[in-house]
Symmetry: C2
Subunit: 169 residues, 2 copies
């Protein structure tokens, strides 16, 4: 059976805005923004970047980043993404950037993280992983503006113990 | 028709964790953590608190706070909640606290905000709204631990232009 799912836009009783409702079963889906977590990970003076093996932006470089899952903290989610995409173990530190993208209802929380050793490998969603010096970062092949902003802000607060997150939207 | 909705726990093809699937229509629901936004709002040396008119914690006091909605930034969501619950207009400033509650898959982002004037009123989800001096805050009747933590941290960073968010979980 082909799933139809919640595809009808209507305001449910007692609500004040449109929600998606399933025409088959009547289920009301409360859609809310999604949280994306990730980390700018460093080992000494080098940066851990992954080349995306999946769309969107397949083939472009990013810090490890992905959807936060149920039952984890934001820091645990960031460390999990680093493990899944780059097979590296990190200690997650302060929040570097908080970026709202209201057009697609996402909130990106990118942390600063320190690699516990210099081991890494490509996970299933990565074409390759690299530990790069600042000058070797492929600036023209970054997946999103937030990658550059988060890398640059990490460099700005390097050695600073406590710092405000860079707010972007 | 009584909605059944996505109630069957199963791992969809190509996925690596259980999701809820609708037994009627086959729709797969990707559940992710929800973002709660709010603000500790001040007018001069007083704090804007609302008494909850809805469960959970009906009758207890909190800063204005609620689910982030689609199509807004975190700051816009915080200002919207302040308007809906306390009918006050604010300028949202830095991120005060970021609290993960993995047990219920929520991320709370509480901002510092300055009221633009001293007008306020109870919105439909509030029993009453008050602008209280620090000593008049009903410390024994606060709705959640995060309310106290956010209020105390606001006081700690008062007058400080840029500060790291307090991280809690």
């Amino acid at each position: 059976m082909k799933p139809s799912g919640p595809t009808i836009r209507t305001i449910p009783d007692g609500d004040d805005r449109e929600r998606l409702v399933c025409g088959d079963c009547g289920f009301v889906m409360y859609e809310n923004p999604k949280v994306i977590v990730g980390a700018v990970c460093t080992w000494q003076d080098r940066y851990l970047l992954v080349r995306r093996a999946i769309e969107p932006r397949l083939g472009y470089w990013t810090m490890p980043v992905g959807y936060m899952e149920l039952g984890e903290t934001t820091e645990q989610g960031a460390a999990r993404e680093v493990w899944e995409e780059a097979q590296a173990r990190v200690e997650v530190d302060g929040l570097l950037t908080i970026t709202s993208i209201p057009q697609i209802s996402q909130v990106h929380l990118i942390y600063r993280a320190r690699m516990l050793d210099d081991r890494f490998a490509a996970g299933p969603e990565s074409l390759e992983v690299a530990l790069l010096s600042w000058d070797d970062i492929p600036w023209d092949s970054l997946a999103y503006p937030n990658v550059r902003a988060s890398l640059e802000y990490e460099r700005e607060v390097k050695g600073v113990a406590a710092f405000p997150p860079l707010t972007r939207s």
